[in-house]
């Protein structure tokens, strides 16, 4: 009942000052709309980059690291001595994972693992014409690779079945194929770093939409690479693992690192640049949105202050006829909330429309990314956040003028 009177008074005040109300509202609307566009776009970019990185790379990768970062012989024999070793060189050892296939089978049995793909990869030169072009050949089990990366959906031409059925087949990355001027059906000669050569037939072209992959990688059958570098059929250099839940990868990777004496790398470590970019965009979104809301808040604060000054006589009369401080606060807080709520709702609407327009705006990214419109994320949470921010801002901005109104001494005003 009491709030109802305050509400009716607030409503009358707002309706008799429509222009002022609208200006205050539009301040909030603008702030919220920009907030929503910003956050939707930034999150869209984050999601897109994360997705494409996650899509094309293993959640966990196990490989043998060839570094000089190993204890030297003298240090093992004479650990307490004063040993100085200059310019230690990598040991000549194969990059193989011992029992790679067995380990793969073992990991595959874990319930949280989606799939494991054992690979042999090697650096090669593609020889077409006079210039050898460098690249990587990944020897894979086609069925397992398909399970991890949905290769078949990334084929631009040809098919993965053709690779499976052709021992000499190769599927090339889109940019690599273009560089080599090769199409499905063409033949290409490759030379490995160890000197082996092979004549391969291009059976397809794929695109992950990631430049570094599309520009350098070719897929062949495991046996072909093993043959090229003259190794046996158990020779495995990499284990790619996909989890059912990508977020579990980090813990799972740590577990694997404890079990096996190989380098274990999770996607977060491998994609630190992307995650750092995400953090920067997150901070930027926050700072800009916060600034917009503060500006909108000051706008409301000013307008509410003016409102209180204009209504100072009304306040005195209300207090004289028995309305108390709480009623007066309610009258002005209700006005702020109405301005905030309507402004925020309108802002959400406009924010959504702008986000939608952005999401259908063509965006030419060249070969760098597989994308044709701006990535925008539509998340109800952002919209809810927008409304909550809007209302909180107006509540704060309305509180101080309302309190001032409640403290007005009616006698001073009524004395005339």
């Amino acid at each position: 009942m009491k709030l109802r009177i305050s509400y009716n008074i607030a409503k009358t005040h707002l309706l008799t000052k429509k222009k002022q109300t609208l200006v205050a509202m539009l301040g909030v609307t603008f702030g919220i709309a920009m907030f929503i566009v910003m956050i939707s776009f930034m999150q869209g970019v984050n999601q897109f980059l994360e997705d494409s990185a996650l899509d094309a790379s293993p959640h966990v990768r196990i490989y043998k690291q060839l570094t000089s970062d190993r204890p030297s012989l003298i240090e093992t024999l004479n650990p307490d001595g004063f040993n100085i070793i200059h310019h230690q060189k990598p040991k000549n050892e194969p990059a193989r994972i011992k029992n790679g296939l067995i380990i793969a089978r073992h990991i595959e049995q874990q319930p949280e693992v989606l799939g494991v793909s054992p690979q042999v990869s090697t650096q090669v030169f593609f020889n077409t014409g006079a210039v050898p072009i460098p690249g990587t050949l990944a020897g894979v089990d086609v069925a397992r690779e398909e399970k991890l990366y949905r290769l078949s959906q990334r084929m631009k031409s040809g098919s993965i079945e053709a690779l499976r059925s052709n021992a000499n087949g190769v599927i090339l990355g889109r940019l690599l194929a273009r560089k080599l001027n090769l199409k499905a059906g063409d033949k290409v000669n490759v030379t490995s770093s160890t000197g082996g050569t092979a004549l391969l037939r291009v059976v397809g072209v794929f695109s992950f939409g990631i430049q570094t992959v599309d520009d350098a990688r070719g897929y062949v059958n495991t046996a072909k690479v093993q043959e090229l570098i003259q190794k046996d059929a158990n020779y495995i250099t990499d284990l790619h693992i996909k989890m059912k839940d990508p977020l579990r990868a980090i813990d799972f990777g740590k577990e694997l690192a404890r079990q096996y004496d190989y380098k274990v790398e999770d996607w977060a470590t491998a994609n630190q640049a992307i995650l750092a970019g995400e953090q920067i965009r997150g901070v930027m979104t926050f700072v800009i949105s916060f600034t917009l809301l503060v500006v909108a808040g000051f706008g409301i604060y000013n307008i509410m202050n003016m409102n209180v000054m204009n209504k100072i006589k009304d306040i005195a009369i209300l207090k004289a006829t028995g309305f108390d401080g709480k009623d007066v606060v309610a009258i002005f807080m209700i006005q702020s909330v109405i301005i905030g709520l309507l402004g925020a709702l309108l802002g959400v609407l406009i924010g959504f429309s702008l986000s939608y327009l952005l999401s259908i705006t063509p965006f030419a990214s060249g070969d760098f990314l597989a994308i044709d419109t701006f990535p925008v994320m539509f998340n109800p949470l952002h919209y809810a956040l927008g409304v909550i921010f809007g209302v909180i801002t107006t509540l704060l901005a309305g509180y101080f003028p309302s309190r001032k109104a409640a403290r007005i001494d009616p006698v001073e005003i009524l004395r005339g």
Partner: protein
């Protein structure tokens, strides 16, 4: 109903309002004593007028009596209960229920209709439903002959019309005391007489107390008693025997 009480002489009737040794200073622009040791009593159902030269402190006294001004020395009692020293919120609730006030400058909420202005204190009190408050508001507006303007925004009313709406508003909660600071200041003779009749009627028949500041000698003379002020002092408490 209370007729037996009303026919008693003023001495026998209950004291409704009592001011004891009220002193009031203004500190700005220079320290200045507006009210000097004001003590007086008002009886239930009494129609009291306060007169005096302009600037002698009548309005200032009325604001203190109305509980809006709380910065004074001395004490104020209503119905034997002390009002001095109570919190602002308590006093607001008290004003709402027990006091009706007509200001020297007829103050209404300009964006609200005459009817809404009259209804607001009634809605705030919450004793009656909104529907009943509206009926009562129409009734009060009829008393001051403003019923036909009930739905006009108050800023579109003439000065005298606004003052009459303000009187209707002061009466809406059937207050124990109605205070007026020159409530007929803007009214012609006919309307002034009408307001006088209303005050006369509610003081005699409902036992409501009237305290008005007025410059109109006829208006003052028609009441029960006249208090005369000069320079912050009460110089005459009037003749209480005037009550019929």
């Amino acid at each position: 109903m209370e007729n037996s009480d009303l026919t008693k002489s003023a001495e026998e009737r209950a004291t409704i309002l009592k001011a004891s040794h009220v002193n009031k200073f203004f500190l700005e622009p220079v320290k200045f004593q507006v009210l000097k040791d004001i003590s007086f009593e008002v009886k239930k159902g009494e129609f009291l007028s306060i007169v005096g030269k302009s600037g002698c402190g009548k309005s200032t006294l009325l604001y203190i009596l109305s509980t809006m001004d709380t910065s004074y020395d001395g004490t104020l009692e209503m119905n034997g209960r002390k009002l001095t020293g109570r919190s602002q919120n308590e006093l607001a609730a008290f004003r709402n229920e027990h006091l009706g006030f007509v200001f020297q400058f007829h103050f209404l909420l300009p964006e609200f209709t005459a009817l809404q202005n009259v209804m607001l204190p009634g809605l705030k009190l919450g004793k009656y439903s909104a529907k009943q408050v509206e009926e009562r508001a129409y009734e009060k507006l009829r008393m001051v002959d403003m019923e036909e303007h009930a739905l006009k925004p108050s800023m579109k009313l003439s000065g005298g019309q606004q003052q009459r709406v303000a009187i209707a508003r002061a009466l809406i909660n059937d207050p124990t005391i109605v205070m007026g600071d020159e409530p007929t200041g803007n009214l012609d003779k006919a309307n002034s007489d009408m307001v006088f009749d209303i005050f006369r009627e509610i003081s005699h028949n409902n036992g409501q107390t009237i305290i008005t500041v007025t410059h109109d000698p006829d208006f003052a003379a028609g009441g029960d008693r006249i208090i005369e002020m000069s320079d912050g002092y009460i110089i005459s408490h009037g003749h209480e025997s005037k009550i019929q």
